[in-house]
């Protein structure tokens, strides 16, 4: 990267050194996730309970939770679980999970400018552990000036542990579970996400892209079944921002 000609510089500035990693950052991300605990536990126990009712063995449910690691899409795929599972059903479940999780490509894309310099053998396993709350928590930290990607990994690990632990009581206590809606725990994740989004707001430059995302989300949700509203709403925001972009500063 010693090339200094001004016309190539702009496109090459995205190859920084790897983002720093520290255990202090790791524990910071780990701790910052504590606030999500009730929401994750309810969500994770809910899957255990649903799996139990559906007739999965405990090992089925535990491995499902621990290896697939994909929140809402697990619930959707569980709908078509059968005993025994045929190849066709397995394939259909994988396809369902993929369409529900396709939006996560946007989450990974958004991490590229920050984490692009991290060696592939480290960043790809870390991306496999990505969950929405860990991602938005890391994005918020980065927007506030942080660079340590340990924060992201710490958040992923905390949420992963909580996720695989919570499925156990959910599975065995399925019938005894109280109604989580009573305490508002069913809404804790949306509330957490909007809370994390407040510091991400940068003022007027975000206004139109965010509005476009809301309207696209509402429109697609009303017209198209499934989870496409998330992917298309997010894409609409990115495209709007790119259209609005004017090169404010010279490329160097």
């Amino acid at each position: 990267m010693s090339d200094t000609s001004p016309d190539t510089l702009a496109s090459e500035t995205h190859v920084p050194g790897p983002a720093p990693f520290s255990m202090d950052g790791f524990w910071l991300g780990f701790r910052r996730c504590f606030v999500t605990t009730p929401g994750i536990v309810v969500f994770g126990m809910g899957f255990g309970a649903a799996a139990s009712v559906k007739g999965l063995t405990f090992l089925d449910a535990f491995l499902f939770q621990g290896l697939v690691l994909a929140g809402a899409s697990q619930y959707v795929a569980l709908e078509i679980w059968s005993d025994p599972l045929s190849w066709t059903t397995a394939f259909a479940m994988a396809a369902i999970v993929f369409t529900v999780n396709l939006r996560m490509m946007l989450l990974g894309a958004a991490l590229r400018p920050w984490m692009g310099g991290i060696p592939a053998r480290q960043i790809y396993p870390a991306l496999a552990l990505m969950t929405d709350p860990a991602w938005i928590l890391a994005i918020r930290y980065h927007r506030e000036g942080g660079q340590d990607w340990g924060v992201y990994l710490g958040a992923c690990i905390f949420l992963y542990l909580l996720w695989i632990i919570s499925v156990v009581p959910g599975y065995f206590l399925a019938s005894a579970l109280d109604d989580p809606a009573r305490y508002g725990f069913d809404l804790i994740m949306p509330i957490f996400f909007i809370t994390m989004l407040v510091p991400v707001w940068r003022g007027r430059v975000d206004a139109l892209p965010w509005l476009v995302a809301i309207f696209t989300g509402l429109l697609v949700k009303a017209l198209v079944p499934g989870y496409w509203f998330v992917l298309l709403g997010g894409l609409a925001a990115a495209i709007t921002a790119m259209i609005l972009f004017k090169a404010e500063e010279p490329s160097a």
Binding site: E12, R32, G55, L56, T57, L59, D60, F64, L67, A70, S73, D83, P84, L85, T89, A90, M93, A94, V97, F98, N101, G108, A109, A110, R112, M115, G116, L127, I136, Y171, F172, G184, L187, P190, I191, F192, I194, T195, L197, V198, V200, W201, D206, P209, W210, A213, I214, T216, L218, F229, V230, G233, G234, L235, A237, A238, A241, F245, A247, S251
Partner: protein
Amino acid sequence: MSDGWMTEGAWLAILAMMATTILAKTMGFWILGRVPLTPRVRRGLEALPGGVILATIVPITLESGLPGMAGIAIATVVMVVTRKDWLAVAAGLAAVAAIRAFV
């Protein structure tokens, strides 16, 4: 609940779902490694967190009715004023619980 170690064919289904999930989680990052990150592309990427989250929670919140809307509104206000996320989440949850209990 069901007896036995594992359902026949469960391994296959779980590994297939794991594979497609990892593909979805990594492909965006991979693709953006093959696109020049010009200032314009960066601006687009910066709009993604707000876009993804709002496109997700606004339709879901509207569907959940008054408790959800009040919880989101109060959490947002508390966060804007105090910048303490745990306080904002607690206030939002309290609003949801209170409305469900009394309205």
